[in-house]
Amino acid sequence: MKKRILAVCLAVAMVLSLVACGTKGTDEGDGKGGASTSENELTVWCWDPAFNIYAMQEAEKVYQKDHPDFKLNIVETPWNDVQTKLTTAATSGDLKSLPDILLMQDNAFQKNVISYPDAFASLKDSGIDFTQFPEAKTAYSVVDGVNYGVPFDNGTVVAAYRTDILKEAGFTVEDFTDITWDEYIEKGEVVFEKTGKPLLSCQAGEAQLVMMMLQSAGASLFDDEGKPDMVGNDALKKVLETYKELKDSGVLIEVNDWDQYVGSMTAGTVAGTVNGCWILASIQSAEDQSGNWAVTNMPRLVGVEGATNYSNNGGSSWVVTSNCKNIDLAYDFMKSTFAGSVELYETILPKSGALATYIPAGESEVYAEPQEFFGGQSVYKDVTEYSKEVPGNNTGVYYYEGQDAISTAVQNVVNGADIDGEIKTAQETTEFAMN
């Protein structure tokens, strides 16, 4: 008897869970099942609730003022999933699963548009004025002279420093403004000696710092035709030398993952960082350090032609997919919000730190407001100024292949391998991948 009761219970539980699965399944189906069919609705994929999802929600409100029936269906999708879903949809030839609009990492833009040209809608006739964005930024989303993306967030590189630690070592932020990497290392050694703290941390095996240094001189791993350009690339060689020096001097400490990297700043084990300005949001999560941070430009390479104190890392752009049923609505929405509404950018900046690449927004007063966390510095205005100086470079279709090859080279060089040899291997690896 007991057994029978147990069996009945189990059966009921199974049926219930099946039913539960069923309803959940359909819910998800509605949410993720591609572009919106309703006339006044658009489906969007983006990934950060505190940042780009929030920005989209505000954009919806802005657009609703003139179009009360308009609705956005925002689906939170991490970037890696966006890429996987996009690849799956495009290779299977069934684009129906794609949303109307998705957010794309700038570094993956060329690769995706060139590999899957049918998946994206050209913005040629959208009426969006792309001259309102910095050229280096729009360059990511232009393929064969056609615009495919509406630039969104800013990846302008900043160097952020703990002013209290610098003070302990006898420096101010001005000592780190407009400097070279040589001076940076020299001063960093003093800081390390006096406070025991490195100036900089980065993820081992990630070539981001290297890529930032490279772009600061307008250089790239690829030439204008997209061929690997590593052997004989003076800027690249100097970058690797600089990186090794940074590591050897103890001014740079490598950690293993992103959490440890952010942790090194929030826990105060390093005295600063160099990264895309979006890192400021993570820095500000350490509320106890309020008032102790300041932002300036990054060091420049020594003896490299075209070296500047400005660079870019990361950033993303909005794309309209060719699965969009209401293409005019999507164009108009983008035109009236991310490419036309200073008000939108004014709203999203204070809460999310989402720095615009929309030039007119940078002139807004909200950007000029002093930030308490950064000791009263008008950080956002400064970064907007930097962004105008960033040299453009060619990321190329094979950006990730090149970056991984260089990151292998960096790790070997740090462990004592010959720089020229490693660069040659990296070039061969990339050429092999492209073949």
Partner: protein, 290 residues
Amino acid sequence: MTLSRKQNLSGWAFLAPATLLIVLTSFYPMFRALILSFQRGKGNALTWGGLYNYTRMFKDAIFLQSVKNCFFYLIIQVPIMLVLALILASLLNNKDLKLKGLFRTAIFLPCATSLVSYATIFRSLFAVDGLVNVLLVKFGILESGYNFLNHELSAKIVIILALIWRWTGYNMVFYLSGLQNIEYSVYEAAKIDGASPWQSFWKITVPLLKPTILLTAIMSTNGTLQLFDESVNLTSGGPANATITMSHYIYNTSFKYVSNFGYAAAMSFFILILVAILAFVQMKVGDKRD
């Protein structure tokens, strides 16, 4: 219709749905993947490439490195893990042991954790300021934290440790169930004849468990060659590709890099062939029935 024919037919009728599903969801994709592996090109633009992808992988330094890494894990980790599982299983098979259930559960439990979360936990354990380093420094073994995941050999060892932690209990369960089939009287007889526990382990347990050992060896080989989560989440394949596995590289060529699905499919078939060969060899060596 005769009775036996009727029974035959109803038998097939019951089998048909499952067979059909397996063919549709498993064999058909495999067949398509095989065709794909003979094609080359980026993303969707594929052309017939014949054996190009299969010859290409032998010139691919990263792929060869990943094959080497996988074999390193295989040769070192699988024997350690299986011996450990065998020892644990025979210890826990002891009739007089108290709290047997508790020990068995404790050892099996790692296997129920998610692959991603356990890899992440191992990563933070072995971080420069992670628990392992803190302990080593505290006991004076190291002067300052050692970056385990940033050195070739130590990163590989961490992966092996992680694998042993995760999978030993899983294999132990197979051995435990195999041990249930060995009569206890056999051990008693050995005892009476004066055999030490060590002798009865090697002379009774191991030979009688041979089919189970063979099964676990083949499964572990298969699993190790397809290793993915640890390489991706624990070490990201680094430093300098020192820990990257074949599956990780296949994932990169499909999704991270400019998609080269033909090449990825060819490499997957390479793994299949490797697994098949190794399983065949193990069966030949392990199964010496007269």
